[in-house]
């Protein structure tokens, strides 16, 4: 491990959260921060970790490299934290991960799916960096399998050129769908700021696709779904955990499927507990970002407890062999510090989200 | 007394442009302001029309203090300022420039009539009525500026170097027009470099030097004053 900062002698343990509270995706920042704070408050209410209270520090990282690095430097150098939960966007998490690695600070990103977040350029794992979400290939595979199991053979794939999360999923889906015997009848890229999708959707209609795979965030789904309806498109829409939001336009996306970390209908205690607590506090069902932030924070605290010392390097070692029952399933980490857990497929139907299937890795 | 200026002081930032200047215009008069470059003639007019405001002193127009009023209000009261350098609205046509002159007028027929008489006075403008103001020649612009000023039937007209850049034949014409306007009941405060001409049509005159009045009197007397002849009339 890189040389960690000397364990601070204090009666609190400082933990930082880097969230994109401003910038292009503040709504992700908001959810992430909520999930993080929720976990911190719970642990504190239960007496903290190692007998110490947790002191949360939230910093705005804007989903952009420079402010994220500044924020990371600030929490590390000014505030002296040893643990960071964040960032959300891979484009910010990557530079932050390098800072964390260099300074021996443990970092766990709740939702950055880019493989480079936990990997060095030479393919070795950054020993201080973890993540709490699937990496792209897994969800893409899950949906490809699901689509062909349903008997669909023609798919159209849309993806955001500028978003590696979307791009990664789309690529894997395309590859796997063909492996399962399907045909990709068309694929189109757009950019994250687009609002008019009629040109692409017209092509979708023309291609005769049965499935429209669109693994983007709910805001894009809402727009695409509304316009698809207007253009009389009949293909079934499918996507990934980005759909998971209380703001998903359920009417427009009716009939669509998506893969997710968990189902809010799940009857496991952690899930029921989490959903009700969150709903009570923030007045909305928790989305994937909040859930994963909550999980990531819990994973971190569990690892600290397991290590038994407030020392980043020791906690990292403890984390590697941790097995924790999180909201999004029981998590263990693989060699590359990616979580191993199962995914579920959900359907938007008749104004509600319904559980369809569970897929193990 | 139509216009009474009492000891006004005007500054451009730190530059003291007018020092304790007083003068007045009676109903129906033509009053000339003459003086060298930079004496403060244009500044005086700008202050009267409300583009600048005096720091001290008062300006009374028809018994009302207007020294703190905004320019657009002063126009309403009947003072029109035809500024130095024509200031034509370049992107508007000749016609539209004239219409702008009648901005406060609401009677459409009256406006049409005024425009007709402006065209009679300056036939060149009629030829050019749809040309953009900015592309007129210098003299054409000057005609337009005067015509535009007349559109609002002012009680007092402030003319800043109306003969500048005009052909001699036009200069004569312009001075005739000024007299004619005056005869129709508009008082005139005239700033001119062409002092001889100005004095020949004015009733009274003031001579400005570096921001102060140095001489005043009947136009005839001023014209005969030796120092004026020396300094401004090219003796």
């Amino acid at each position: 491990a890189a040389e960690g900062p000397a364990a601070a002698e204090g009666d609190t343990i400082k933990v930082a959260n880097l969230s994109p509270l401003t910038g292009p995706v503040p709504t992700f920042g908001e959810s992430t921060k909520n999930g993080f704070m929720m976990a911190v408050e719970e642990w504190n209410a239960n007496g903290g970790i190692l007998g110490k209270q947790i002191e949360p520090i939230v910093e705005d990282s804007q989903c952009t490299a420079d402010p994220a690095v500044n924020a990371a430097n600030k929490v590390i150098d000014q505030d002296g934290v040893h643990y960071i939960v964040g960032e959300v966007c891979s484009s910010a998490s990557i530079p932050v991960s390098e800072v964390a690695q260099e300074k021996g600070v443990l970092m766990i990103s709740p939702t950055s799916t880019n493989a480079d977040v936990t990997l060095n350029l030479d393919g070795t794992t950054k020993d201080m960096v973890f993540r709490a979400c699937f990496i792209d290939p897994f969800q893409g595979l899950v949906m490809a399998k699901f689509a062909s199991d349903q008997g669909y053979t023609k798919a159209f794939v849309m993806s955001d050129q500028g978003n590696d999360y979307v791009r990664g999923l789309a690529e894997v889906f395309s590859e796997k769908f063909v492996e399962y015997g399907g045909e990709i009848v068309g694929s189109e890229n757009y950019t994250g700021t687009d609002t008019d999708f009629s040109a692409i959707l017209t092509k979708v209609a023309d291609s005769g696709a049965e499935v429209l795979y669109l693994p983007d965030y709910y805001n894009v789904i809402n727009l695409v779904a509304a316009q698809a309806k207007q253009l009389g498109i009949t293909a079934v829409m499918m996507g990934a955990d980005g759909w998971d939001s209380s703001d998903l336009d359920i009417a427009a996306a009716d009939g669509g499927y998506y893969s997710n970390h968990y189902s809010p209908d799940d009857t496991r205690d952690v899930v029921v507990d989490w959903v009700s607590k969150y709903t009570e506090k923030y007045g909305a069902t928790p989305d994937a970002l909040a859930t994963l932030a909550y999980d990531a924070t819990n994973l971190l605290f569990a690892a600290i407890e397991k290590a038994g010392v407030d020392d980043a390097a020791a906690v990292a070692t403890a984390m590697e062999s941790l097995s924790y029952d999180a909201v999004s399933g029981t998590v263990t980490f693989d060699e590359q510090h990616n979580p191993i857990k199962s995914a579920v497929v959900l359907q938007v139907k008749d104004g509600a989200i319904q559980f369809v299937a569970s897929v193990a890795p | 007394m139509m216009l009474e200026v009492d000891k006004i002081n005007v500054f451009y930032g730190a530059i003291h442009a007018l020092t304790d200047i007083s003068f007045n215009v009676e109903e129906g008069e033509i009053v000339a302001l003459i003086g060298a470059n930079g004496a403060g003639k244009s500044t005086s007019l700008k202050t009267l029309s409300g583009l600048l405001h005096p720091t001290t002193g008062s300006i009374r127009f028809l018994e009302e203090d207007i020294s703190t009023k905004a320019a657009e209000e002063i126009v309403r009261k009947g003072i029109i300022h035809v500024p130095e350098g024509r200031k034509i609205f370049a992107p508007l046509t000749v016609m539209e420039n004239l219409e702008m002159g009648a901005f406060l007028q609401n009677d459409k027929d009256q406006i049409a009539c005024d425009i007709r008489s402006a065209f009679e006075r300056f036939p060149r403008l009629k030829e050019r009525q749809n040309q953009l103001g900015g592309t007129l020649s210098g003299g054409e612009q000057q005609m337009l500026a005067i015509a535009r000023g007349l559109m609002s039937h002012p009680k007092l007209m402030l003319l800043d170097e109306p003969s500048m850049g005009l052909a001699p034949v036009l200069v004569e014409q312009i001075f005739e027009i000024i007299q004619e306007i005056n005869k129709q009941g508009t008082s005139i405060l005239l700033v001119e470099q062409n002092a001889k001409m100005a004095l020949s049509i004015a009733n009274r005159a003031y001579v400005l030097e570096t921001g102060s009045v140095v001489l005043e009197g009947a136009a005839k007397d001023v014209m005969e004053n030796s120092s004026v002849i020396q300094a401004y009339l090219g003796g």
Partner: protein, 371 residues
Amino acid sequence: MERKNQNPIVNWIVKSKILGILFFVIIGATAVFKLGTALLDNPSLFLQQVVNGLQLGFVYALIALGYTMIYGIIQLINFAHGDVFMVGAFASFYSISRYNVHLWFQNLFPSVPAMLAQAIGAVTVVLVSMVVCALLAFTIERIAYKPLRTAPRISALITAIGISFFLEYFGALGFVFTPNYITYERPFEVTSWYIGPEGFGSIQAGVATPPHSLIFSNIFLIIVLASVFLLLVLQYIVKRTKIGKAMRAVAYDKPTARLMGINSDAVISITFALGAALAGAAGVLYAIAYPQVFFSMGIIPGMKAFVAAVVGGIGSIPGAFIGALIMGQAETLSAAYISTPMRDAIAFSLLIVVLLIRPKGIMGETSSEKV
């Protein structure tokens, strides 16, 4: 020193400007070829794309009109225009979802035919947004722009950028508009129709539309009507009314306009308010077309509309309209037949090419200044 070009070939090349022309001809021919083959390949698909582009173009036109007017009068690139547009969209969102403004007529006179009542309700929603935006702009103008009248033009531009940031991030605060993407409830139902070889009919959810038919919706019609209407109104105001002429006079020379008795401050405030009202209307229609509102929704459409205004010749109202339609087609067709991720690049290249051919935009007036 300069000599005449001795060589006749060189002379011809220079005279005919052949190299520059060739450059554009190559670009143009490539585009025409691409689009031509697309048209021949699948005419109905191509036409559908053109219709898609029209809708986008008319939406841009709505925003571009306000942009171009403010620029034309105050010579200010009002970067906050897109954010006023956002506020307009939110105003209508709240008036619909909280206050049911779109239903007032229906509720008051239940006997009136639903179509008419809906239309009146929708128009009211638009008017409410226009008023809200006009008031907002008026306030902004008084606080932020008026004190800068005599300052360099760029100060006002930076102020506009500041206002833009402020509206966005203030709007993103939890107790204002929140940072979320919010689904927008339209004040009326969407209906789509198809027209084609199989005749004419309306589209039902889940039922496949007959092939080779052209699809359009009531939203498309409304946007077309609204933008044409606003174009005509605006053109009338600026060219024919006294206040419009006063706007142009103030634009050119404030002190002299004041010497004509024009209250230049009032004129500028009115201009801002009018531009903002247009932005407000555009915000509502945009949200109806792309039913989602969020704090930064104004940035991209604002910028695109601005570019449209420039392509058309900024300051020119019909120009903004034409520019917007061109932008709409350029974006849609390049998304359809060239490359979607590159479509912004293509749209902007088009902008630059247009400016090189016509430096003041398509309808831009050449300078009226004489040396």
